[in-house]
């Protein structure tokens, strides 16, 4: 069976997050994943998308493209590619400062930075950033079953 694929163009706003969630719901419709796995993916999607909402076009707004693919094998690997044409921003740049210990220490000191991308790195099985043709392209993969 060929992989299931879909593409979405959406306003990079907090309301747009609902649209992205519906898009992911539709992709995952026939995937037998647990509610817990699904919730983890929701966190991942929220962090990546809200990052675009908050930083890519600020203080203005713009659009984001989301391409999704589900492998039709027993692992049901979901691949989500988020693209925006906003300011160049590599969320993985400070990856080395995002060890679990460092994040916990910062949380204890009530410093809020880096929490979101830390969750993304923890939840995703694979994550890749590219800057190509004036676009931020973030690809995340996660096994759903």
């Amino acid at each position: 069976m060929s992989d299931k694929e879909a593409v979405l163009t959406v306003e990079a706003t907090l309301d747009g997050l609902d649209v992205v969630n519906e898009f992911v719901d539709e992709l995952l419709k026939d995937v037998p994943c647990t509610d817990e796995m699904r919730a983890k993916l929701d966190i991942l999607v929220e962090e990546v998308f809200v990052n675009i909402v908050n930083y890519a076009y600020a203080p203005g707004t713009g659009q984001a493209d989301v391409r999704g693919r589900i492998s039709q094998d027993s692992d049901y690997i979901i691949t989500l590619v988020f693209e925006d044409s906003g300011k160049k921003f590599n969320p993985l740049e400070r990856k080395e400062t995002l060890s679990a210990d460092a994040v916990r220490k910062r949380a204890k000191n009530r410093q809020r930075g880096g929490l979101g991308i830390f969750l993304v790195i923890d939840i995703a099985d694979e994550i890749r950033y590219e800057w190509r043709d004036g676009k931020n392209i973030l690809t995340v993969k996660k096994r759903m079953v």
Binding site: I43, V50, A107, F118
Partner: protein, 100 residues
Amino acid sequence: MEIKKEQNGNALTVHLAGRLAAKEAKTLEQEVQSSLTGITDLTFDMAGVTYVASAGLRVILLAQDMMDEAGGDMRLVHVGPVVMDVLNLTGFSDFMKIED
């Protein structure tokens, strides 16, 4: 997301249900900013919260800061498995009171 408040003197319980996503976190932040005056005993009942990401965590942290400043006490109760995972992972569970 549903936000229900139950106040008894200086004690406030905030019952949350549904997705505590970025947009809902904004609504909750306004609630927190406007409801905590005079409160020294704050409980977030997380029974109906299916997931929380960093936007929601920041509001919980804001409430904790406000309670610390007021010399008050704050706790999270009925935390589900996904939310618990996130609290553990981010170290929030190290300094927040989490009860059954």
